[in-house]
């Protein structure tokens, strides 16, 4: 991995793909990253209510053959449309709205881009299910994105202990890859951090991180 790759990740500052919940609690900031060789994404957002967050972020992606590259920088708004707090589970519907500029190595200049999306998830202390769809649209560009995630925790833990999970994600982005990327990941959840790491079906290392402050 190059120095510029890490630098971009550090500078471009949460990813909908990694998130158990893509915003934190009221008045918190959340940083999220999703890092891999073909896809690097990072966001930071601020929850100004328990249901709304505004932020900024970016996605850098390249095609499987490495010939096409895209860099999207966007302002984001995330809204919790619906939440069901159940005795032993939680389910959510999230709305994402993004607008910004996209650059590519096969066209000149920066194009205005919009990126609306939706996520539904269901979680207990032992099971996690999520589906995310996001449109990445600009003039003559369509990189719509879809992912599904399913996982389970090996055992229950106390609040201050680390809980290991096995999560499998399948995702696809139109216009950059012809195949579905499948990644089994080890997820570690603690009250202070959320990390995931795995190797996808192209034998590429992926890592996700979330941090709330």
């Amino acid at each position: 991995m190059t120095r510029s790759w890490w630098l971009w990740a550090a500078l471009s500052l949460a990813t909908h793909g990694a998130a158990a919940a893509p915003i934190g609690f009221k008045d918190s900031w959340m940083l999220m990253t999703d890092l891999g060789p073909n896809w690097q994404e990072a966001w930071i957002n601020h929850a100004f209510t328990a249901r709304d967050a505004v932020g900024a972020g970016g996605v850098r992606m390249k095609s499987d053959d490495g010939l096409r590259r895209r860099t999207l920088v966007e302002a984001t708004y995330t809204r919790l449309l619906q939440r069901w707090n159940l005795p032993h589970a939680q389910a959510n519907v999230w709305l994402f709205a993004g607008a910004g500029g996209v650059r590519g190595n096969d066209f000149d200049g920066t194009r205005f881009a919009v990126a609306p999306g939706l996520q539904v998830d269901y979680e207990t202390t032992r099971v996690y299910l999520a589906a995310t769809a996001r449109l990445y649209r600009a003039k003559d560009l369509n990189h719509d994105f879809g992912s599904v995630r399913a996982g389970f925790s090996f055992y229950e833990v106390d609040y201050d202990e680390v809980q290991p999970w096995l999560v499998v994600e399948a995702r696809r982005m139109r216009g950059l890859s012809d195949k579905v990327e499948i990644t089994p990941m080890l997820r570690l959840i603690h009250s202070r951090f959320f990390v995931e790491a795995g190797v996808n079906n192209s034998r590429q290392l992926r890592a996700n991180l979330m941090y709330t402050f």
């Binding site: 609690f25 009221k26 939440r83 707090n85 202390t125 951090f193």
Partner: protein, 107 residues
Amino acid sequence: MTHRILVSLVLGTAALTAQAADTVVATVNGMVCAFCAQGIEKRLSKMPAAQAVFVDLKRKVVAVEARPGQALDQKTISAEIKDSGYDVVKLESVQQTVAELKAGAKR
């Protein structure tokens, strides 16, 4: 007479000190993930009257212990948990410290 009053005051204060803590225990729906529930701990810990906070994911309860001589407002506790993204379904006061509740949960 003055001596008796002073003795009574000292004994009374000692009795209050020895009395078990005032702790509010909330039963919370939706609390399934430690990373997501950290907001509950952080927000409740900032309450001036809160001395200690305990999140019990397994039993789905949150306990807030009051500082000595201070009272906890149950409505505020409920609002803070709501702002963390969760729903309070039951609130009760108990005379146990957070440390005691924690020890009981570990058993």
